[in-house]
Amino acid sequence: MIENFANLFTGFGVALTPYHIALMFAGVAFGLVVGVLPGLGAPNGVSLLLPLTFAMDPVAAIILLTSIYWGALIGGSITSILFNIPGEPSSVATTFDGYPMARQGKATEALTLAFLSAGFAALVGVLLVTTLAKSVTQFALLFSPIEYFAVFMLAFASFVAFGGGSPFKTIVSIGLGLSFATVGMDTISGSVRLTFDVPDLIKGISFLVVVIGFYGIGELLETMQEPLAAKPVATRLDWSAMMRTAREWPRYWLTLIRGTLVGCWMGIAPGGPTAASFMSYGIAKRFTRGNKPFGKGVPEGVIAPETADHSAGTSAMLPMLALGLPSSATAAVLLGGLMIWGLTPGPMLFKERPDFVWGLIASMYLSNVAAVILALASVPLFARVMSVPFTIIGPMIGVVCIISAWTVSGSSFDLLLLFIFGILGFFMKTLNYPIAPMILAMVLGDRSEDAFRQSMLLSQGSLTVFFERPLSATLSVLTIIFLAMPLVSLLRQAFKRNAAST
């Protein structure tokens, strides 16, 4: 451990040159823009700039590219909160309470809380990477498809079981999500499923198109249903609102720590930032005291997903560097970068290129701080957008949605899907079908199906395999407890009613 801190100081020596610091700020600023535009997203932003780094030194290159990633992760929350359109997949859960807060004229508060929490969680994530590098790597090696499946189920159970609302409508929503995830070529059998012979569907349905359709277009249609009063939401633009929020922020320490832990776990496990943010939101909803109206604009509902998202994002760098295992799309692009710069990701990287690894880790401290500072500085600017009347901002959101859906893979078929999903989203909202379980089912559906079928191949068809090893058994039992909790409370209510009627 002490050795790690000695290494870290060498790392700071590598990272703290004016050139590298300039790269950090440039990367973060570019990342913020990338994050704000839904559909462009961190993976696209990073691969856009990858060719620029061919001529650079690997340390400088990775600092630039990871800074873009941190910027994009933070920027993704901005549109989630202001327009209910997640800029990044991992910001979907931030919309649940962030957007209602903005509608109530508390955009400044929501953005400030989101950025501060993100920064805090990112720093904890890096600290974990610094101190536990070796043991965490060993831990990650324990994960076979059996454990992956258990992790995915746990994430799923912790969000869905605490969701509330009609269970039947939730099941319909999950079913839709799972079927969207099934479209395209299947990893395990190699056959093509649910494509109805449409060539454009072989690549599968892009998660981003679904999110932009259901949230962006769906939200627009719903807003248009209301009488067009063109009433701008009053937003106070003064810095004092920001300062006040910053002072109140430490009061949410419990949510902060819980969210960060969930994120670190999911970053290493590795379930990825998107699943982490959903899981953290579900857990916060269940365990926050005082029956807070989650979904109606409570600060905890912003803090929980933001902390998990960012601690997962940073701690996921560890399996990427030490195992060569990318737990997010952006990490996969970065891995490609490593190979082109002539490095071999994997267990030997820490020994062969300590300057690179520790330079990167040191830069993660600095660039995350830079990201929070830049993001906070932009709050008044973004909050001002809220005071523009809907008659003007509405069409602009529509245009942004279309451009974003196009950017995902430059396919006009995606635009058709966008409108289908938008209309579907409108009806689901009007008829009170929850959309979030569908999104989570899409994120986890494909991966958990693969993991389940790989497990079945490994165990030759025995289901007890999920309970045979300590790690998977613990996770599976937790999943069952989480799923049983709403049933237990339902039964208890039924008993009470029975007792009252007799």
Binding site: F143, P145, M185, T187, V192, I202, K203, G346, P347, M348
Partner: protein, 332 residues
């Protein structure tokens, strides 16, 4: 539904062909930004191959237009080929892939045939190695085969009905064994699963498993090639690439199995366009950067273009079709 677009594509391809043949004999050069389409996911072998070519072309100013790389890896790369087919006659769009160009249409209902693309060049041939976990009871490929005859041995690989599983089928038939094949999303994943001891073996390319080999988390048993790999520097304290025995010397009669790294153009391009790109890729092939890439990834460099490449593809399709037929994978 599927009928109309393919007829449309056909018509467009014909139109492209006629325009192409009318083109004047003058040398062709790209007049707008060029797009490199990667028919695989980010960070995989094809992505790195594409970006290496991109960086060589940029560094050496081999063309005077910028290059944009687009990732179209959906459906084992089908997304990229469908996308490439949608612009017949366009010399500004190159498709980077492997033998998936002719293998995918055999196993899945996809919207193209081998003839829909113009093969430009195959530039590198990646090797396949039988890797095992270091704590496995077998130490040689012979012992591995014996163990597989006696009991269940788990084999991991990248994707299903793709190059890895095809090799496993050939391997099983040659050695007279049956393995439990578990498909993962990528070779990298199969390497980590092997390091964790969750599977017994995989058939990764050298570059996919070198990190684990160095760290003692994976051991090569034999290489599916007709000659030993190039020596290069030692990978571990005692072994280098050339110390890996040949599978055929270990009682596994698989003579050779390689994966080409290849570049295609959409159908209907003019011969001048094809010639231009063959020249550019040939120049890139002769750079020290390319040599360094080949050494680092332990592939064999071999430049095939024109008829040589087309013949190679036809022969490979012939051989693989038989394997697919035996396995019952051929799409009707």
């Amino acid at each position: 539904m599927s009928r109309a677009p393919s007829i449309l594509f056909g018509a467009m391809a014909l139109a492209g062909l006629s325009i192409g043949s009318q083109a004047v004999a003058a040398d062709w050069a790209p007049s707008k930004p060029v797009e490199f389409v990667v028919t695989a996911g980010a960070g995989g072998g094809t992505d790195i191959f594409t970006r290496t070519i991109q960086s060589i072309i940029q560094k050496n100013n081999l063309i005077n237009q910028p290059i944009v790389v687009t990732l179209k890896g959906g459906g084992s790369g089908a997304e990229g080929f469908v996308y490439g087919k949608s612009s017949p006659g366009d010399g500004h769009r190159l498709i980077f892939g492997t033998s998936n160009e002719w293998l995918l249409p055999l196993v899945a209902k996809v919207a193209w045939k081998r003839e829909d693309f113009v093969p430009v060049a195959a530039m590198a041939f990646d090797e396949f190695i039988l890797w095992t976990r270091p704590d496995a009871p077998w130490k040689t490929a012979k012992d591995y085969v014996a163990a597989a005859k006696a009991g269940a041995v788990k084999m991991g690989g990248s994707q299903s009905k793709d190059l890895d599983e095809t090799l496993v089928k050939i391997f099983e038939k040659a050695a007279g064994i049956k393995l439990i094949y578990i498909p993962f999303k990528s070779g990298g994943e199969a390497a980590v699963q092997l390091a964790g001891g969750h599977i017994d073996s995989n058939t990764n390319n050298p570059a996919e498993n070198i990190g684990q080999w160095k760290a003692g988390q994976g051991v090569p048993l034999c290489v599916f090639s007709s000659q030993r790999l190039a020596a290069g520097p030692k990978v571990t304290d005692t072994m280098g690439w050339s110390d890996i025995p040949l599978c055929k010397d270990q009682g596994i009669p698989v003579d050779e199995y390689k994966m080409p790294r290849a570049v295609y153009l959409p159908g209907g391009v003019s011969p001048e366009m094809t010639k231009f790109w063959v020249d550019v890729l040939q120049k890139a092939f002769n750079t020290p950067e390319w040599k360094e890439y080949i050494e680092r990834t332990s592939q064999s460099a071999n430049f095939l273009s024109g008829k040589a490449f087309a013949d190679y593809a036809a022969k490979d399709e012939e051989r693989t079709r038989k394997v697919f037929d035996d396995a019952g994978w051929l799409v009707k």
